[in-house]
Symmetry: C2
Subunit: 194 residues, 2 copies
Amino acid sequence: MTQNQAKKISKSDRTRAHILEAARLLFAERGYDGASIRDVAAHASIDPAMVIRYFRSKDELFARAAVVDLHLPELRMIDRAAIGETLIRRFLEIWEGPASGPGMTILLRSAMSNDFAAEKLREVFANQVRPVVAAVGDPADAGRGAGLVSSQLLGLAMCRYLLRLPPVVALSHDEIIRNVGSALQRYVTEEDLS
Amino acid sequence: MTQNQAKKISKSDRTRAHILEAARLLFAERGYDGASIRDVAAHASIDPAMVIRYFRSKDELFARAAVVDLHLPELRMIDRAAIGETLIRRFLEIWEGPASGPGMTILLRSAMSNDFAAEKLREVFANQVRPVVAAVGDPADAGRGAGLVSSQLLGLAMCRYLLRLPPVVALSHDEIIRNVGSALQRYVTEEDLS
DNA sequence: TTAGAAAGTCAACACTTGTTGACAAACGGA
DNA sequence: TCCGTTTGTCAACAAGTGTTGACTTTCTAA
């Protein structure tokens, strides 16, 4: 019984995972509108109706595909002078590291033209970025640092991985860490001298 | 004859401009895919077929709507220490100033999921941003500064005007000028100390 | 006034989209 | 073996897309 149930579940869950994998790939490459359910189904070698059966709708499929966990480090634990460098190094891991998934690409690609993706990306900011950055520095200044850091990092991701601006693509990791790292450092630790 | 011709042209060009205005509004609000020709036509109180008659296709309509001229100032003419502030002030004028058109919004909104918009945005960078920024600083370092500046400014535009991240929306002009301005200043003038 | 061009309307085309329901095959437990 | 659930296929729907061509109206030049 347990084995049967497990076997059944694993059977259906394998194609389920198959579909989700294809969806993540296509959503990342073409965005929400550009990736049709038929495309996803073809990529998973399956009938379009199955995509709807496993995920109730295209929206729900996208929601499942757009899950992101940044795994940002606890900034309180590290040298205050190294926060900027820590953040930019984690950024490079998220986008280029061996374990990097397409999650952020999916979100960023569609967030400009799809309300749901935009809301999801705002949630990532509110739940994962803001609390981490706010843990260092003036609590009264809560959002400012996180907002500035996000604007720089999302802009860098956009220019380097989606828009592919040649000079931004050409930047080496060292250049990015040095230049952007120090900018982030200032955003996070520098008081907003009025 | 001249008057007649002028009158005719002005007649047809008025609706032409009407269509283009509606298109710019909708492309800015909803992106390339989200704004249908029928939507544009309805907004211009005209038949969808007229949109095609005046602009040959949706792509061409978009191309006409997505024209951008940043009017960046010549950086060689100003105090080297004020370049960052100059850039960020111009940025705020482009996006929030009284004469600000939806051009950049149109481009940015669609550039993540539409190849043509992406190419057009890269052209804006290559033709309008890069030469201006490259005019100051090491020519061997040509693209780096312009790339970093663009990543920060496009990221800021994205977070503030499209994604509308609350803390970034809440930033005052003064805060933006102070914080981002000094970051830009470093990107442009600081040598890349290896 | 009248012929002709210009401006605008209407219906339809071919196609793609997300989604659904009816049906067939595979499979596991009794 | 046989029944029932799971897994999958097929065709179709209703809606929306960009685009086209035939048609009518409007207006101007001769």
